[in-house]
């Protein structure tokens, strides 16, 4: 604005053509945003894929112990464990699952390390095609601080969810209880017991003090 006004005031006294503004001039701003108008917003085919600077690995696993023994099953009790760690760097934790020993090199606590109690009762209304009978499953936090967890799709705690074991080797979730059954965990059975797990990785932005 100031440059434009200066030019406007001084212009009448100019004897020669005005010089081009310097590159850093506000008149020619090289940092001006490119229009997002769709016709103009072509994808640069020479672009380099943008990789996440940080990733969070979300691990969820657990077990159901169904009763009565031998079936037909009417209920279960079990446990869900949830852990999250950053950039593949996993603090030493007390689990009975395989851990990459190269990555486990510290005893710092995880920001997300939950133990959740599961109680399932046979559902009287929910049916999942191709699944074993569905359960109404209550999730009750036993230990840990959920606010440190980042999984945007995590099952809400202290609520009831409908889950069913599918012989395809999955535990399926009735998403929102609307009858939309989605694969939620990879699962195996051993008699009355169901073991399940899921692991996913997401990009994540970390504040400086959060960076591992």
């Amino acid at each position: 604005m100031i440059a434009w006004v200066w030019w406007a005031c001084a212009g009448t006294e100019m004897d020669s053509d005005p010089e081009l503004p310097p590159e850093e001039s506000a008149i020619v701003d090289p940092d001006t945003d490119v229009s997002s108008f769709p016709v103009e917003s072509g994808l640069d085919t020479d672009s380099i894929e943008v990789e996440p600077e940080h990733v969070v690995t979300v691990r969820q696993w657990g077990e159901w112990n169904r009763t009565p023994a031998g079936g037909p099953h009417e209920a279960f009790t079990g446990t869900l464990w949830v852990q999250e760690y950053y950039d593949g760097w996993r603090p030493e934790v007390d689990t009975d699952t395989d851990v990459d020993s190269d990555a486990a090199d510290t005893d710092l606590p995880l920001e997300c390390d939950l133990e959740v109690g599961l109680t399932g009762v046979l559902s009287v209304s929910a049916t999942c095609d191709g699944c074993e009978p569905a359960f109404e499953v209550s999730l009750a936090l036993i230990s840990g601080e959920p606010s440190g967890c980042r999984d945007p799709q995590a099952l809400a705690l202290d609520e009831v969810h409908r889950l069913a074991y599918s012989p395809e080797g999955q535990v399926q979730l009735d998403y929102g209880d609307i009858g939309l059954w989605l694969p939620w965990y990879q699962a195996t059975t051993d008699g009355d017991r169901v073991d399940f797990e899921w692991e996913g990785t997401f990009g994540v932005a970390l504040e400086e003090e959060e960076e591992p």
């Binding site: 769709p38 894929e49 996440p52 209304s125 929102g176 989605l182 997401f202």
Partner: protein, 323 residues
């Protein structure tokens, strides 16, 4: 700017003559001989109502189904604190500039979703469903060099459904403010839409929409409206089911707005144009805000059949790969 510069420089000394300009040329109203305002308004009304988040969301979901490997990358919450996204954004975001198998993603889009159903204790067949979604960002998807989808803006919607077997009721509300590009159509809109159906129909719409390429009747590139309507089942003594309350306008490429003003939207408030208050399915035509003494009588009955409740499954855009 010029005025500001004039003050900054100061008035030229000794030059107090008034600058005389020729009077502005009177604009001629474009010929309206071949314009079918009834058909144009009917089409514009339906298309405006379709500029809701359900449409934008489905386009995004279909484009996201083209994902290959980690193109694009998904983020838990904001991928970059520089983005116009809350630092503690609770949803999923894709953020990338990548191409794989001729499918390219550029930019970012973040979304949240929530849906829950409950059954009546006395009657388990009676189901209540509530859903909410939001989508925001600036991202585009291309396939084989052609634009498949772009959304630059923000939107949110909510749905409530009561399903009692033979009878049902729904209420849906949506707000979209952004530029939407699909394979066949591109438009810029800020639109608020509310409608309900099942046990009686109602609708409300307020906003504007501009099509980049499409033209209604080959000449109108925009629609703006502020209307509410009620179906016959729910109409009270003071309701007119033949026409909406409010006004609908279309704009031609020469930037002339043609507005049809029906019954007053809110009689208690000041109204920019005098409403035409007869309940006869007609409104008065205004051009650039000036009444033309012409009645336009569109048949908006097809509007009701164009309104449907969103599909509940579309409230579950879940990114969860299970082997």
């Amino acid at each position: 700017m010029i005025l500001w510069a004039w003050f900054a420089c100061g008035a030229p000394e000794g030059d107090s003559d008034t600058l005389e300009l020729d009077p502005a040329e009177e604009l001629e109203i474009p010929s309206l001989e071949d314009v079918d305002f009834e058909a144009s308004l009917e089409e514009a009304f339906v298309m405006a109502l379709q500029a809701d988040l359900d449409r934008v969301w489905r386009g995004h979901a279909e484009a996201l189904a083209l994902r290959q490997g980690t193109c694009p990358d998904f983020y838990a919450g904001t991928p970059d604190f520089e983005l116009e996204l809350d630092d503690d954004f609770p949803g999923l975001v894709w953020f990338d500039e990548c191409e794989s198998d001729e499918v390219g993603f550029a930019g970012w889009l973040g979304w949240t979703q929530q849906i829950a159903a409950e059954s009546s204790v006395e009657n388990p067949e009676f189901v209540f469903i509530e859903g909410e979604r939001s989508l925001q960002g600036d991202g585009l998807v291309r396939q084989a060099g052609a634009l498949v989808y772009e959304f630059d803006g923000e939107g949110a919607d909510a749905v409530y459904v009561e399903d009692a077997g033979e009878s049902s009721y729904y209420a849906y509300s949506s707000y979209v403010n952004g530029t939407v590009s699909e394979a066949e159509e591109m438009f810029r809109t800020e639109m608020y839409v509310v409608h309900s159906g099942g046990m009686g129909q109602t609708l409300e719409a307020r906003g504007n929409l501009y099509w980049m390429d499409f033209r209604i009747a080959g000449r109108f590139d925009s629609v703006a409206l502020d209307v509410e309507m009620v179906g016959a089942e729910l109409a009270g003594e003071d309701d007119c089911t033949l026409e909406p309350r409010g006004w609908i306008g279309v704009r031609d490429e020469d930037a002339y707005w043609y507005e049809v003003v029906f019954e007053p939207r809110n009689p208690a408030e000041d109204y920019e144009n005098d409403p035409y208050t007869e309940c006869d399915g007609c409104g008065e035509l205004y051009i650039r805000g000036l009444p033309q003494g012409t009645l336009v009588c569109p048949d908006f009955s097809s509007v009701w059949s164009s309104l449907t409740s969103p599909t509940m499954d579309d409230y579950a855009l879940v990114i969860r790969e299970v082997p």
